[in-house]
């Protein structure tokens, strides 16, 4: 776990990108990020829960009983997931109906649990809050991108507006979970391809330096 505590604060962008590198939080992306709106909605709900629960957990990290700390995290996360659900229900009713069970399920999102674990080991509320903000925003961005691509290809629309001409034949597979799985895998592959390439370049540049 020490690995997580070192390095630049903005590592969430690629090295710790929840979906692409850590393969966490895949379920909501596959299941409900079928349009740009839905992807952004689930992403923002996750980011909100992540940030708020992380701040509280970081504040409480010295008082939580060691034997039951996971239970305590879950209660905190649960509370904020419920808040997110109610906010969605009150202000964004259409996406809320599409997201359904996946909003309460944010509680069990692995990104949030992983961040909770890190928050216990990091020093200070501000570090934790900053990192979870970056991670949450990235999760939201990726979920929105996946949603936008799926919306574009499986119905030819973006934000409900027709993009392609009448000749376009929608690819129904992407509406289904397997299509989301394939698409997320391809995006992760592209991201990793460029990352390993830049890492190789770094290594070549620092040849002879310390490991």
């Amino acid at each position: 776990m020490n690995e997580f505590n070192q390095g630049a604060p903005l590592r969430g962008i690629l090295p710790e990108n929840p979906l692409f590198r850590l393969a966490l939080g895949v379920v909501p992306t596959l299941a409900v990020a079928t349009t740009l709106i839905n992807g952004a909605a689930i992403g923002i709900a996750v980011a909100f829960t992540l940030l708020c629960s992380n701040i509280v957990i970081a504040l409480l990290r010295n008082v939580l009983p060691a034997k039951a700390h996971v239970l305590c995290w879950l209660i905190v996360i649960c509370a904020f997931a419920s808040v997110a659900q109610m906010l969605l229900q009150a202000f964004f009713h259409d996406p809320y109906q599409d997201l359904g069970i996946y909003v309460p399920l944010i509680t069990l999102n692995c990104v949030i649990l992983a961040r909770a674990q890190m928050a216990e080991e990091e020093h200070g509320v501000f570090t934790s809050a900053g990192r979870s903000l970056v991670m949450g925003v990235l999760f939201a961005l990726v979920a929105a991108c996946v949603g936008a691509l799926r919306e574009l290809l499986d119905s030819g629309t973006l934000l409900g507006a027709q993009v392609f001409g009448k000749g376009f034949e929608p690819m129904l597979l992407l509406k289904l979970a397997p299509g989301g799985f394939l698409l997320t895998g391809i995006l992760a592959g592209i991201a990793n391809y460029f990352m390993t390439r830049s890492k190789k370049n770094d290594k070549n540049a620092q040849k002879g330096g310390a490991a």
Binding site: E169, M171, L172, L173, P178, G179
Partner: protein
């Protein structure tokens, strides 16, 4: 100079990937000609387009990824032609292109290229097409024989189109381009067996199990022919799949014993899908499922290492 380290026995053969793939292409010629004969210019266009776009996709990918370009081994051409033969004859042109790109890039190259793909590329692409554009992939037509008349949409034999045994055998029935003429497929099979490109195990056992189960399930088999075992293997894509798809080297088990298990599994799954599934035909999914099971079969069917103790001796 290229140094190769390998285990004994060191036997040289003239087999190369290119030679094997060329044999498969030759074996596919009768089925292709029959399909074009029965279904006319659109079928010809689909076959040419799918083969060409598969080769092009492989070439472009290997260039982009700075890999050695291996289009000359003909494996992409085989994949493309197999995919084309698995399309309905009136499918639009872009279905062939999309399918070839999915087959070569998504199923084959992303997993490491030739020999490393765990699913049959042509079949996996067909499954993707079927899930993505179900309407285009399930419209079958009666053979037009180049008459120029508009093709008449029809159910396939497995969905209730009546057909005599002779029509089933020669291919005068609605279906995918390559699967209709059983005579042409059998010619291809004979060539592959004579050239020793494949062994008889997989096709014969696959078809045998399918026929046996069709006969055993009878009218309960959900099959138009009330359990006629001959009709069961002459309709749908089971013969084409058994000869050209289930015998793919990289996605079927390595040992003869493993191939027997593989073929039995294919036959059982096809029969179950035909009898109880939502789709009238299940050859694609049967072979894909057994492709996925192949590494497991290989693991359990590992041949005894020469000189190692027999099981009885261990106890």
């Amino acid at each position: 100079m290229e140094l190769r380290v390998s285990l004994a026995p060191h036997i040289r053969t003239a087999d190369s990937t290119r030679r094997l793939m060329l044999d498969v292409l030759i074996a596919l010629i009768p089925a292709s000609l029959a399909g074009v004969y029965f279904f006319g210019p659109n079928a010809l266009m689909l076959l040419v387009l799918s083969t060409a776009s598969a080769v092009l996709a492989e070439y472009v990918w290997q260039k982009l990824m700075k890999l050695p370009v291996r289009v000359n081994d003909l494996s992409a051409a085989v994949t493309g032609l197999l995919l084309g033969l698995n399309l309905p004859p009136q499918a639009p042109w872009w279905i062939a292109v999309a399918g070839s790109v999915v087959a070569v890039i998504l199923v084959k190259q992303l997993f490491g290229g030739i020999g490393d793909n765990f699913m049959n590329p042509a079949l996996a692409a067909r499954a993707v097409l079927l899930a993505s554009w179900p309407v285009h992939m399930t419209v079958y037509t009666l053979p037009t024989m180049w008459s120029g008349a508009d093709a008449v949409t029809s159910a396939t034999v497995l969905s209730g189109h009546p057909a005599g045994t002779m029509d089933l055998f020669l291919g005068n029935i609605p279906g995918c381009i390559g699967e209709v003429s059983k005579l042409a497929i059998l010619l291809g099979l004979a060539y592959l067996l004579i050239r020793k490109t494949i062994t008889w195990h997989v096709p014969v056992i696959f078809l045998g199990v399918t026929a046996l189960l069709a006969w055993a399930m009878g009218a309960q088999g959900g099959f138009t022919f009330d359990g006629d075992p001959l009709a069961a293997i002459l309709s749908g894509g089971v013969l084409f799949g058994a000869v050209f798809m289930a015998t793919d080297y990289s996605t079927s088990p390595m040992t003869a014993k493993g191939q027997v298990v593989f073929a039995i599994g294919c036959g059982v799954i096809v029969s179950i899908i035909r009898a109880y599934g939502k789709y009238p035909e299940g050859v694609t999914y049967a072979i894909l499922l057994m492709n996925i099971a192949s590494p497991l079969i290989d693991r359990f069917m590992r041949p005894r290492v020469y000189g190692s103790p027999l099981k009885e001796e261990k106890a």
